[in-house]
Each structure stands twice: as C-alpha cells, then as structure tokens.
Amino acid sequence: MRFGYYPGCSLHATAREFSESLLTLVKALDVQLDEVEDWACCGASSAHATNHLLGVALPARTLAIAEGQGLDNIVAPCAACYGRLAGAAHEIEGDAALKGQVAEILKRPLGTPPEIINVVGFLQSLLPEIQPRVVKPLDGLKVACYYGCLLLRPHKVTRFDDREQPESMEQVCAAVGATPVAWNKRIECCGAGFSLSRTGSVIRMGREILDDARAAGAEAVVVGCPMCHSNLDMRQPAMNRGQAGAGALPVLYITELVGLAMGLDPKAMGLQRHYVSTQPLLDRLSTAVAVAEGEVS
Amino acid sequence: MFEPRIVAFVCNWCTYTGADLAGTSRLPMATNVRIVRLPCTGRIDPLFIVKAFERGADGVIVSGCHPGDCHYSEGNYHARRRFRLFKELMDFTGIDSDRVTFSWVSASQGQKWADVVNGTTERIRALGPFEGYPGSEEVA
C-alpha cells in the first residue's frame, strides 16, 4: 500500500519520536509513504492567525506539488499540518475566486486537491493490517485518548466521526489491546499555541487535562498531535508541581502505542526521547507479556 | 421610439394580486404589457409563449408565486422545471431567451411587479422588435 506523506516541520525536530514511530510502524506494515517533494511549512499556527491568504497559500503550494506528483492522498501525521492542509483544500474548493488568486500567486495550476488523512484515520484504515501483527497486546493498559483541537475542528473541514464524542482514537487503542478510559477533557485545548509566549496559561490548561486523565484512572495519555505532545510531555513537571498525588503520566503518540503492541523496538520508535520517562510503562507491559506467556506455557 | 408589445402570463393568486396592489398604489408603469390571467403558473403551456411571439409580441413575462408559496402548493415548481427546458428550446429555435422574463411576484409585491414591467419593457426596447424565427419566411 502507498500513501502520500507530509511530515511537516515538527516531525523533523521536536516531534522526532512521532516521525520515528510512524516510520517504524509503516515499515513493519509494509506500507510505503511517498513524501511530498520539497514541501514547505504549512504555516500553523502563525500564518492563518495573522494573514488569512498566507494561511491558505502556504499549504496550497504543498497541495499543488502533491497533485503534480500524482498523489491522491497525503498522510499528515501532525494534527496542525493536517488542519492547515485540509482547511486550505476545503477553502479553495469552496471559493473559485480564492482558488484563482492562490494559483496566480503560486504560479502553479490547482486542480482537485488530494485527500488529507490524519494519523488516526490512517491507523484506522490500516487496522486490518495491524491487528494480525499484534504480538504484545497491551494487557488492558488504561489510556486516556486525547484529541485536543486540531484533529477535530473545524468539523466542516475535518468531518471527524463526532465533534463532541469522537470514538476513533478509542477504537484504534482498543483494537491493540488497550482499555480507553472515559474522561472529560478529551476535546479541550491544551493551549500549546501559547507554549512559548504565555506559558502560565498553558500550565493551567495542561494541568486540568492531566488531572482529569488521572482521575479517570489512566496510566498514559495518547495523542496524535506534536503540539499537544510537547506541551503535555515537556511541560509536565511544571504542571505537576505542587499537585498532591500527581504522579508522572507518560504521554504517548498513538503510533508509539500501536507499535508497542506490535512488538516494535521502543528505542527505534524514540520512546527514550520523552521528558516523562516511559520506562515504568515499558516495564509494566513487558512483565505483563512475560506473565501471559508463562500462563500459556 | 420603438414601443415593444409584451404579453404577461401571470397566476391568479400571487402576481395578479400583486399587480392589483401596484394599481391600488398607483405605481406608474409602461403601457406595453398585456396581462393574461391564469389560475397558476403550472397551467402555462410553453405553447402559450410561442403563440404570443407568433402573434407579434416582442417579449413575454411569466410570473407567479414564490417557491414554497404556491396557492396550489407546487404548481410553480412544475412550471419552473418546464421553463428551464423551454429556455433551452428557445435558444435552439433561435428566439433570444432574453425576450422572456421569469419572475416571482407575491401578492404583497406591488413595487416588484412595477419593476418587472418597466424593466422588461426597457430591455425589450433595447433588443428591438422581434423579427420572427430565423428562416421562418422560407418555411412560409
């Protein structure tokens, strides 16, 4: 199977483990990703917040190149890139004048844009390939699936399964043996856009999310967005500070979780790069697997 | 100045009543339009329009209730569908479809009716007299 692929800036840097886990995973699944040639940044989140046309034109360049490459779809694992690419596609499809204007700026023809696929939809579509390869079912690991904003909204662009009570992340996690918990803050914003510029607000929002996940009994938070990840992972010590009983809560990319269930090498997937150590979690899972194997034999 | 002759086919319940209102409101209108009253735009056979041109009209107005307001609940939808086809037919036969105005005028839209009458008259005046179908003389 082949898909178009747009890694985006974060996956080359702060979200390296997202990239590493995704690439390890697709290799194991025998799925080929064709990277969009010479892609540029999608502009999130400053471009559209300050200049609407710029917020459309930057991702439109990527769409035009992908189209020229003959790609029917593009997997955009980063939720922010996904939102910008899908948003730009939606806008130029709905506004012929804008489409003309953008094509003129780009000096490239714009036809029908490729379908933009987020990481959750990507994994969902691969579940028939993934499930037979699950060798280390996650032993009911309690996970809090965290959607955040960019995967879900705006609904008219993302058409995610449900804007208020989505289920697709839970479906993917449950399919590999984890137990998704019911919790309240799944679709709240973590504030990552202000991570640098208004850190205090971000600490407050992140703390509310982590507290709620813990209250629901989660052993890990699962995300599909590098901004959410860097926020909840890197800033977690500050979020937990002064909170009685706030133990470290690992934050996993959904690709990492699926990879673990498939028995892929944690190091190859970059699990050592996390700020909140994933080691206790890995230990718990390997013990569980050992016990399970013992029972069988 | 060329004074075009225009036949208007209007429904009894909306446009005819709207035209009455325009009269009651004494809204000045061009004298070029002759109204033929029908129960509903649904009753209007495209042949009526053809007949009007054949008789020497330079333009035709068809007007009825707004969509959803038809006195007979859906006659105007049937009419609209039929006239879409009819317009294509006109282009095919060579009658400039600009010579036919389709509009919705409700019983409360006296002013709109006056605008339709005056606007259509101006437009047909600019188009000039209807000279018959191209090639009709040879056929005759």
Binding site: A15, A40, C41, S45, T50, C149, E188, R273, Y275 | -
Partner: protein, 188 residues
C-alpha cells in the same frame, strides 16, 4: 441591498474578509462558556462578537484578540454558526495591518519570529524560532530548563533545513503582504 453594505466600517470589513455576517450572533454566550481562555481575557469572546456588531474600532488594540488560541471550540459549538474564532483571526489580520505593534509583546514576538523562520527557510527551524522569539520578547531566561533537554533528546536541530523552492515561499509572502497594504489603502 446586499448585506455587505450594512453596518459600521469595521463590521463591514470583517464581513467582507470572512463571508460571515456578525449580525447573526444573538449573544447566547456559548462561546465564552466553553472558551479555555475566558478567565484570562479582559474582553470575552462573546463581548468581542458584540463589539464587532457595533463596529467598535478599539477592538483592534484590545489585547484580548491576541489571547485566542484558535482552538475553535467556540466555532464548533456556536448555534448560529458565526465562527467566532474565524472572526478573531480577521481582527488580528486587520490589527497587524492597521495597528502594528498592539499585540502583547510576547505573542506578537512569537508570530513574527515564526513567520520569519518560514520566510528564511521555507520550513520552521525551531531553534531559530526560539532564539528569534526570545530576542524579540525579552523572555531570555524562560525555559532554560527545557531547551538543553531538547538538544539532549535530539529534538532541536542545530542547522536549519532549507527548501529548494524558497523563491516560491518568498513570492507567497510578498503577494500576501502586498494584499495587506493594498487593502489598507482601500480602507483609507
């Protein structure tokens, strides 16, 4: 008469830029009720909507418009589909054109540094972003605990990646910025 002809100049401008009619807002406040930044914004999102309806120009200098995270929860739940987040984007765009420098220092610095990175490299160079941001915002000593960690984890590249089609990107910026100044002239 079309809708774009109604209302004070600011209202008309927002309507023209977004295609959304602010008059649709009936002030139910569901946006504010679900806004994660509501407690920190001096002017709450529902009040911003009201001020757009009234055409209150001082909105362009209101720091509240820079406190929106674009999380779109308001747009998602707005019963009237007014899309407050989209309108705030348009306010920020206008503010950048007409009242540059009114964004709170740190937030403005972030956006400027971010876009500068894209203009320079075509992609985001996060180390450059952090550096640029800190120089502009004066927040030099924040995050000293995390940045070294990022390097150690291989999460900050020290050298930027530059794309081949940098000309494309620069042209996009020029075209978009040109449109800014031309619409500014129209406004005058």
């Amino acid at each position: 008469m079309s809708h774009s002809e109604h209302g004070p100049p600011l209202t008309r401008e927002i309507r023209a830029r977004t295609g959304i009619d602010p008059a649709r807002c009936y002030q139910c406040g569901k946006c504010t009720a679900g806004c994660p930044m509501a407690d920190e914004m001096p002017t709450r999102i529902q009040q911003i909507m009201r001020k757009i309806q009234q055409g209150r120009e001082e909105l362009l200098e209101d720091p509240s418009i820079w406190l929106c995270l674009s999380c779109e929860q308001c747009s998602s739940r707005c019963p009237q589909q007014v899309e407050p987040a989209r309108l705030v984007d348009a306010l920020r765009e206008l503010a950048m054109e007409r009242a540059p420098g009114t964004a709170p220092r740190r937030i403005g610095a972030f956006h400027t540094a971010f876009l500068e990175q894209i203009k320079l490299n075509g992609r985001l160079y996060e180390f450059g972003l952090v550096l640029g941001y800190k120089l502009r915002s004066g927040a030099l000593l924040d995050d000293v605990e995390s940045a070294p960690g990022m390097m150690a984890r291989g999460k900050l590249a020290l050298v930027p990646t530059r794309i081949d089609g940098l000309d494309d990107v620069r042209r996009i910026f020029e075209a978009c910025e040109r449109r800014d100044s031309s619409s500014e002239e129209e406004a005058k």
